[in-house]
Every structure is written in C-alpha cells, then in structure tokens.
Amino acid sequence: MAASLQDIQRRIASTKKTRQITSAMQMVSTAKLSQIQRHGGSYTVYADALHDVVAHLATAHINNVSGTLLEQRHVSKVGFLVLSSDRGLVGGYNSTLLKELMARINERQLTPEQVVILAVGGNGADFFKKRGFDVAYEYRGVSDVPTFTEVREIVKTVTTMYDNEVFDELIVGYQHFVSRISNEVHLEKMLPVSAENLEESKDDNKYTADYEMEPSAEQILGVVLPQYAESLVYGAIIDAKTAEHAASANAMSSATDNAKEIIDSLGLQYNRARQGAITTEITEITGGMAALD
C-alpha cells in the first residue's frame, strides 16, 4: 500500500508541474493575442485605403483589364496558399484547416498535378508533402507578430509566381479569427482580384471625387493592384496568426482545466489510499493485542 501512496503523490506532483507549464503558456498566448490585435488595427487603416483606391479605379476602368491582376486567365493550375502554424499545442487549428482544404480540392476534382501548394507554417507543408502534392514554396518561422517587412518575401514570391503563370488562380486558406473562443476556416480566392470583391463595399467608399490620374488610370492600376494583392495576403497572414494565438490560448486553458480535474481526482484517490493504510494498521495492532490476550 505504501508504494501506491508514493505513486499517487508522484503523479500529483508531475500533473501540477504540467499545469504550471500550460497555464504559463496560456498567459503567453493571451499576451501575444492582444499584441497582434493592436497591430492588426493599424494594418486595417492601410488595407482600407488601398481597397478604396483600387475599388475606385477598378470600377471605373473595369473594361480595360488585360495584363493586370484583374484579368481572368484560363485556369490550368490552382495555387493554394496554406497558412498553418509551425508548432502544435493549438488544438484543432491545423487539422480543421487542412481537412477543409482537402475537401475543397476533392470537390473541385483537382488531381495533385493541377495543384500547387505554397505553405507558410510547417504543419501544412508536411501534410501536403506526405500526400504527394507539389509544395512549390515553403516558409517556416513566421514571428508571433509578423511585420510587413518580414513577410514581404512571402508575399512577393506568391505574386511573382502568379505573374510567371506557375498557377492561374490563388486560393488562400487560413483560420479567420472570429473571437477569442472561435475561429472559422476561410478559403478565399485572392488572385485574380475579382471585381465582385471590390464592388461589395462600394457604398462606403469615400473616394468619390473626380480624380485626375497621373500618369494614366491603367498605369496606376498596374502599380496599385499588385500592392493591393500583397496587402490581401499580408492581411490573411495577420488574421491567421491572430487565430493561432487565440487557438493556442484556448487549448492551453482547457489543458489547465483538465490538469486541475486530474489533480482533484488524484487527491481523492490519495486520501482514500491513506485511510486504507491506517485502517489496515489499526486492524493489525488490535489483531496483535487479541493474540497476546
């Protein structure tokens, strides 16, 4: 009996240590979450400014789009930009995303030859490599609060590949941050830039003045569209990271709760075993006395 008492004690101690770690990780994730949310706020200003100008230019000159990112090409290859996490310990963050992506690929009946995977984050890269897809680009180690300078390389590579017709359509798959407790998988077609997307928010477009264009609207569109596409991809990366921190904070908080439950039930077991041991000792002593009498 004494041995099992010690066992239980050891398990309690180790679960307590685990709880300490998970609760620390939860706090770290929560801190990172609020950090990136602040950063995301300042990015929105930039994205909105770009969006409004592009929408203004594109709706006015929608007929003259050949050679720009607005042009719809015949799709022979589809690029998927997969924004997953590098680490685990983020609950269902990666698995639900990858499941949805596979479902989309199957739904469109794309063979692995028709798919080009661009993976940001190790989980996605490994997943698609294992399944025999062409992983044309891989990037690991996006920092917790990515700056534009940092992800510029990713963003530029993606748009350059599109320009070089490595793929003719780009779908970005990521977990969209809804709230601290829920995420939502988004599979968004970002390239070619679709007119519907731009017109969606036409009503609240503040750029309604009759502009002079210098040098010409087409040339400005040629400069602004790539910048817009880049900002979309960057926005998705920020969103995905935000969701990752939220998912991680959640996973760690439920791990901490679980640890607490285990400790409670182990405590109960420990007390029971201790009682049992005392009872046996008493029986032994009284038994011994009875034998002496």
């Binding site: 950063h39 200003v45 930039y46 502009y211 002079e212 264009m213 400005i220």
Partner: protein
C-alpha cells in the same frame, strides 16, 4: 486648419507612420517627376517612385522629409494620403543598416541567377534611396 494648408498622412502596413495637419506644400516624387501639391489642388491620384516626400510649411518653418518605397498618393478635400509599403522619416534612418543592405543586394546581383535579380534590384534601390536621403548626395 486654415484655408491654405492641407492634411498629410503616410499610411503603411504598420499603421499611420506620419501625419501633419498644417502643411502648405508637399513635394511628391511621382513617376513623371517631382510634383508639388498645395491646398485646394484638384483631386488627384498618382503613383510614386521609390524616393522622398517633402512636407513643408514655411510660415512655421517646418520641413520634414519622409523616405518611402513606392506606392501612390491620393488627394481630395485637402487630405493627402500617401500609401506605401514602407516609410520612415529621413532623420530616423539607420545609415549603417542601409549600407549593409546595399552591400547585400549588390552581392546578390553579382552572384544570383535571373530569378532573383528583380528583387535584389528593388532592394538595392531601396537601400540607395535611404542612404541618399540621409547624406543628400543625389
């Protein structure tokens, strides 16, 4: 805001990095060459070079140079928004860092195959632009 001033803001992915309420003249480095914008200019959208934006108010003897890496400018209702990948005030530029970046880009250009050239060239232009903005030997 008086009638002869305009509001400038510089927007990058990292937020609004610069704003000034009372500029009398803003000089932009556009694709077609330098262009000055003063208050009550007609609405305009123009694309910008990798270069410098000068924000000036002579009455207040205020002058600020901002180094930007391309992008575009939009002006209406005496509001000038400059939207760029990156921007920093010239006085905040770390010349040593820019010089290192320049060396790196030049090495890339010398060694690399064709796929990288464009990016290295852009990086080189950015670095040179930063250095010039500070040292002024354009």
């Amino acid at each position: 805001m008086s009638e002869h001033t305009l509001h400038v803001k510089v927007v990058t992915p990292d937020g609004v990095v610069f704003g000034h309420e009372t500029a009398s003249l803003v000089v932009l480095d556009t694709i077609n060459g330098e262009e000055g914008i003063m208050a009550n200019h007609s609405p305009i959208i123009t694309s910008l070079h990798i270069g410098e934006v000068k924000v000036i108010n002579e009455e207040e003897s205020y002058k600020e140079n901002i180094t930007i890496s391309g992008g575009f400018a939009e002006f209406s209702d005496n509001q000038l928004s400059i939207v760029s990948d990156s921007a920093e005030r010239t006085q905040d530029i770390d010349v040593k860092r820019a010089e290192r970046a320049k060396e790196r880009a030049e090495k890339h250009l010398a060694a690399s195959d064709t796929s990288d050239t464009e990016r290295a060239q852009a990086a080189l232009m950015r670095a040179v632009n930063r250095i010039h903005a500070v040292t002024g030997n354009k």
